[in-house]
């Protein structure tokens, strides 16, 4: 009896118990589709984070101040100290000291209330230089960015994010309009395009950008410290070199060794890594739960195959009397179990893929179905069928024809 005959007779046996077979398959379907969906959710979240971090700008190094230690020895976290200055940023722009850096943008951040007539909106105000636009890979949807001259003189101009624009001006064009911050009037010269990060409503799209001197004047700061310095490396390959140069230069300027630096440098990769670690934990957790449901589905297959062996004991006896060797009987039941598993796998993949299309509309979360995970799910369902079919199949194969024929 060849394999094709065996598959045909397996299909016939499955078809002759439609309800029972469908319920068995259902267990596998649920298991496989939930594995595909949970892995898809994890990968979707990961992709979303990568998109967001990509939107920060390419080849980017983010320099943050180090921690403070107050008189009682209490240490603040990274960013709590005010060790980075505009002068540091200017030094980093020096091509001879840091040859692999092309652009530098220092940034101060403060929270301000912007007022347009009767409307006000609290947002973060970024004080920076003209390079900010390129370093952060941002574009303008209207107007222009402030010029070098405006930056140098601390002109009263502001570029606002798209969400800020719609909050303050509605459908009106903001360019050329006036905003006031604590009584100081600022002219809106440009509006940023959306950052392109897949989820909207992030702070990337709700902000005001002004020259660093203007920001200091508005917030009354005189120390010229900055909260972040964005550094763009010449290329992705030179990111590591730029990282070392920036580290060496800042360490020497601050009179510290790189080991106890009062600043920290993050790359996009390190940000992506951190975010992915969190996602991976969730994926593993959810995937684990889904895998358990798959296991339960597999046990369902074994249960049904055992019932099937018991129920068809006379058929097995007859087939043996007519010349079926034990291996043929074993193969028949194994193929039947594998077919149940594989059918469950195929339907499960279908449900998973459809679910991946529908789910983002319901929960506002991207689902990425990977071909590898789908193939792995199919292989697993087949393996489940075979694995959980082995015991029932060998039980059928061991039956002696006389006992099997005589049983009522």
């Amino acid at each position: 009896m060849n394999w094709w005959e065996t598959v045909r007779s397996g299909l016939a046996a499955i078809r002759s118990h439609r309800l029972r077979s469908s319920l068995t398959v259902l267990g596998i379907v649920i298991g496989i589709s939930s594995v595909i969906l949970t892995v898809g959710l994890g990968q979707g979240a990961q992709k979303e984070v990568e998109d967001q971090i990509d939107a920060l700008g390419s080849n980017l190094l983010i320099v943050s101040p180090g921690s403070t230690t107050d008189s009682s020895g209490m240490r603040g976290g990274f960013g709590s100290a005010s060790t980075l200055t505009v002068a540091d940023a200017s030094a980093l722009a020096d091509r001879t000291a840091v040859p692999d850096v092309v652009r530098v943008a220092p940034a101060t951040t403060s929270s301000v209330s912007l007022v347009n007539g009767e409307t006000n909106w609290t947002t973060s105000l970024v004080g920076t230089t003209t390079d900010w636009l390129d370093v952060r890979s941002r574009e303008l949807s209207a107007g222009r960015f402030f010029t070098a001259a405006e930056a140098a003189s601390g002109a009263s101009v502001v570029v606002i994010g798209p969400d800020t624009a719609s909050e303050l001006f509605g459908r009106q064009s903001p360019v050329g309009q006036q905003l006031s911050v604590d009584g100081t009037r600022l002219t809106v010269v440009g509006v940023l395009s959306s950052s392109g990060a897949s989820s909207s409503g992030t702070s990337e799209d709700d902000l005001g950008v002004v020259p660093v001197g203007t920001a200091d004047a508005l917030t009354g700061t005189t120390t010229s410290t900055v909260s972040t310095i964005y550094v763009e490396a010449a290329s992705e390959d030179l990111l590591a070199a730029a990282h070392q140069e920036v580290q060496a230069l800042l360490a020497s300027r601050h009179g510290v060794t790189t080991a106890d630096a009062d600043f920290s440098i993050a790359t996009q990769d390190s940000l992506v890594e951190t975010a992915n670690e969190t996602n991976r934990t969730f994926t593993v957790l959810l995937g684990g739960v889904a895998a358990i449901s798959l296991l339960v589905g597999g046990i369902g297959v074994m249960n049904i195959m055992l019932v099937s062996v018991t129920e068809r004991i006379r058929e097995i006896g007859l087939r043996k009397a007519l010349g079926a060797a034990p291996t043929v009987i074993r193969r028949q039941f194994l193929v039947e179990a594998s077919l149940l598993g594989l059918t469950g796998g195929l339907v499960g993949v279908l449900v998973g893929v459809i679910g991946a299309q529908v789910l983002p509309h319901l929960i506002d979360q991207a689902v990425a179905v990977s071909a590898l995970a789908t193939l792995a799910a199919l292989a697993t369902s087949l393996a489940l069928g075979v694995g959980f079919g082995v015991y029932p199949a060998s039980r059928a194969a061991r039956l002696t024809p006389i006992d099997a024929l005589r049983s009522e």
Binding site: M1, N2, A12, A321, L322, G323, A324, A325
Partner: protein, 236 residues
């Protein structure tokens, strides 16, 4: 005439825990090609055990069983399955047809295990069904056939591999008198055309249709005689 069946000193002992039960206590039989033999005896006499041994469904505890020139006493499960497939056609009291399959699919089964190609299988199954008079019922399922017709499907299935031996275990036990006549008539025809038939029964009128009767009692053959119908006048 060459021998189809040769049993020499065959014993069969069953063990249940410490209990031993000897179902066959030394049986010697020779059955030649073309013979029509009925095995009779009360229940527990050992005739079912004999049927299992003759059908290669079980192995003797002692002694030799040569079927169509092949010693089967020391074969393993797979080899026995192959012998059953090639040499023996079974007809059972309960028909043992698979209810989900049509008549010709049932008849085709032994050919599948013999590795016969698909097209040839259907042809042979249909011709076997035609031979037992069911050429117009090939697509009926067992449930749509009468008891006598079902048993004829089973006979067709037993014949389809052209086996050396047709082994029937109480083939008329579940049939009414008309179907019994029907099936026995079929056996007579097969005998006339040269088939070797061994039939196990407890009904004297069924046994009387055979050419030779083996009477079993307590695990031994007590009588081995030609039946009255074919025996010369004056024989016992």
């Amino acid at each position: 005439m060459s021998a189809i069946i040769e049993l020499e000193g065959v014993r069969k002992t069953y063990r249940t825990g410490s209990m031993e039960f000897e179902a066959l206590r030394g049986v010697d039989i020779r059955i030649d090609e073309g013979e029509y033999v009925a095995v009779i005896g009360p229940s527990g006499s050992g005739k079912s055990t004999l049927m299992n041994l003759l059908g290669c469904l079980d192995l003797p505890s002692e002694g030799r069983y040569v079927l169509a020139g092949e010693d089967t006493s020391r074969l393993d499960e797979a080899a026995l399955a192959a012998i059953r497939n090639r040499r023996i056609g079974f007809v059972f009291q309960q028909f043992h047809l698979l209810p989900s399959m049509t008549a010709w699919r049932n008849v085709e089964l032994p050919l599948i295990y013999a590795g016969v190609p698909r097209a040839e299988r259907k042809e042979r199954a249909v011709s076997a069904l035609t031979r037992v008079g069911l050429g117009d019922r090939i697509d009926h399922r067992p449930g749509e056939l009468s008891g006598g017709q079902q048993q004829r499907v089973a006979v067709a299935r037993a014949l389809v591999t052209e086996p050396a031996l047709l082994l029937a275990d109480e083939p008329t036990g579940n049939l009414d008198s008309r179907s019994t006549r029907d099936v026995l008539g079929l056996f007579d025809e097969l005998h006339t055309s040269g088939r070797t038939i061994v039939l196990i029964t407890h009904e004297p009128e069924v046994a009387a249709r055979a050419q030779r009767n083996l009477v079993f009692d307590d695990g031994r053959i007590t009588v081995d005689r030609p039946t009255a119908a074919v025996a010369p006048a004056g024989a016992s």
